[in-house]
């Protein structure tokens, strides 16, 4: 599901696997996943460069920690909060 046309991520509504082709709502076409993405998690709709903003609901929800390819799983291993970058560390500890 894509929530805003300026978003660079979508939310996957069923557990999906590497190579799956998923259909996007609202005339946004299809996306081939290059990684498994669990239900409720996000995948990149476009190539996102390191330090670029991750955009959902048309708003910045974080920053990319590395280059992210189209179809890759986007989560706390490759993105972080702008206001609370320590959340990832707290989860690991």
């Amino acid at each position: 599901m894509v929530l805003d046309s300026s978003d660079n991520v979508c939310t996957v509504l069923a557990d999906a696997f590497n190579g799956d082709m998923i259909h996007l709502n609202g005339g946004h076409g299809t996306l081939r996943l290059s990684q498994g993405v669990r239900f409720g998690h996000k995948a990149a709709l476009k190539h996102i460069r390191k330090n670029e903003r991750i955009v959902k609901y048309g708003q910045a929800i974080g920053t990319a920690l590395c280059d992210i390819e189209v179809g890759e799983w986007v989560h706390l291993h490759n993105m972080t909060s702008i206001v609370d970058p320590d959340f990832r560390r707290r989860l690991e500890s």
């Binding site: 939310t11 709502n25 909060s81 206001v83 707290r90």
Partner: protein
């Protein structure tokens, strides 16, 4: 729609209208909690809540004084130990001033546990005999005060249940009702969107509250996002915030009010639930605390959105649970009142789901028991923090 009677309410002597007619037992310190629970446990359908700390400040007294004049409350028995800082006499006086029946059990004065339980039971029994004599009144949508909360959020909450509540809020406000939202820690990342829906004065106050939430998040190392949120697909406080903010709908934010304030003009209000000062202590935040903030604002009922599932109810308000996560509907179906998964499949629009929610709200006002009520959930967590009183002008 404004003048449409949707139910009969209970008319309180101070003019407030209730949608339930509760009798409650209220403890003023942990030492009195057992006696209060014993009293309540000897009857069916008695609410019990209180404050468990021995140290009470202006905030605790203010919020407890607001809770004991809740519109759904017919009367209460306050149970004190006797030496705690929260004064039972003060709560009894506040309740009586608002025309509620109120009695006081004082464990040190009344002779210990057993005698206090006996005294409390006699008071409750009297109130139960009299509570049905109270007059009934028209209850219109314009009389409704409604609160919202999200708990156990996942990535779908912000796409299903939360925008559906936003649509419900638009409908209730357009019908002349009053709606509250809270969770300023979950407005970090969307202060601009919120400020854009308020007058210049109110926008300044909203930004100040969100800045305070950021300072306190940095100071406490907690930003209102938990491990389960991340497992469910949420990544950052900004993402969680944007999803949570959808609950507020699209109408003007009329004002931001401190906990315990009850604005009298209809419209949409934000509750400022952030402490002024963390260095002087605060209890840990929880969903039950946000719900007690809504109860203190005089909300008749609360719509609660959940993704991963939450069983919570409230001692003072029916709580309607809304969920758009198919797995949770399957595993915790008995806790969910409204299924918003049609938003995932495209079978319903957000506006249509808002109308479904309004129908359910009306049925609950008319007396339908929510899942939490049927299952006996009556949580209320009265928390401690430092927050100065600033009366609202609305």
């Amino acid at each position: 729609m404004k003048d449409r009677q949707i139910a009969e309410g209970w008319l309180r002597p101070d003019g407030q209208k209730g949608i339930r007619n509760y009798v409650a037992v209220v403890f003023t310190v942990e030492c009195a909690e057992h006696v209060a629970c014993e009293i309540a446990g000897r009857f069916d359908d008695i609410q019990v809540f209180g404050y468990d700390g021995c140290h009470a400040n202006e905030f605790v007294t203010r919020v407890m004084s607001a809770l004991v004049i809740h519109p759904n409350l017919y009367g209460l028995v306050v149970v004190s130990l006797g030496c705690e800082m929260l004064r039972g006499e003060q709560l009894v006086a506040a309740a009586r001033t608002a025309g509620r029946e109120a009695r006081h059990v004082h464990i040190q004065r009344d002779g210990g546990t057993s005698a206090s339980i006996r005294a409390g039971c006699a008071y409750v029994s009297d109130m139960l005999d009299r509570r049905d004599d109270i007059s009934r009144c028209r209850f219109n949508l314009s009389d409704l005060r409604i609160g919202t909360n999200c708990g156990g959020s996942d990535a779908l909450s912000g796409m299903t249940s939360n925008p559906a509540v936003g649509s419900l809020y638009d409908l209730v406000i357009d019908a002349g009702g009053t709606c509250f939202f809270d969770e300023i820690t979950e407005m970090i990342g969307c202060a601009d969107m919120a400020a854009g829906r308020a007058s210049d004065d109110v926008a300044v106050k909203i930004r100040e509250a969100v800045d305070r939430a950021v300072r306190i998040g940095v100071g406490s190392g907690f930003f209102g996002i938990a491990t389960g949120n991340a497992e469910g697909g949420l990544t950052t406080i900004e993402e969680k915030s944007l999803g949570a903010f959808m609950k507020s709908g699209h109408r003007t934010i009329r004002d931001i009010v401190r906990v315990g304030e009850r604005p009298q003009s209809p419209g949409l209000y934000l509750i400022d639930s952030i402490p002024d000062d963390l260095t002087r202590g605060a209890s840990p935040i929880s969903d039950a605390e946000d719900m007690s903030n809504a109860a203190a604002a005089g909300c008749h009922l609360l719509v609660f959105t959940t993704g991963r599932g939450s069983p919570l109810g409230s001692a003072l308000m029916p709580v309607i649970k809304i969920c758009g996560t198919p797995e949770t509907i399957g595993s915790m179906g008995e806790n969910i009142d409204v299924d918003t998964t049609p938003l995932l499949t495209g079978e319903a629009s957000i506006e249509e789901m808002g109308a479904v929610l309004l129908d359910e709200v009306i049925r609950v006002i008319q007396g339908k028991k929510t899942c939490a009520e049927k299952l006996g959930h009556r949580e209320l967590h009265m928390h401690y923090m430092v927050q100065r009183h600033t009366p609202c002008r609305c």
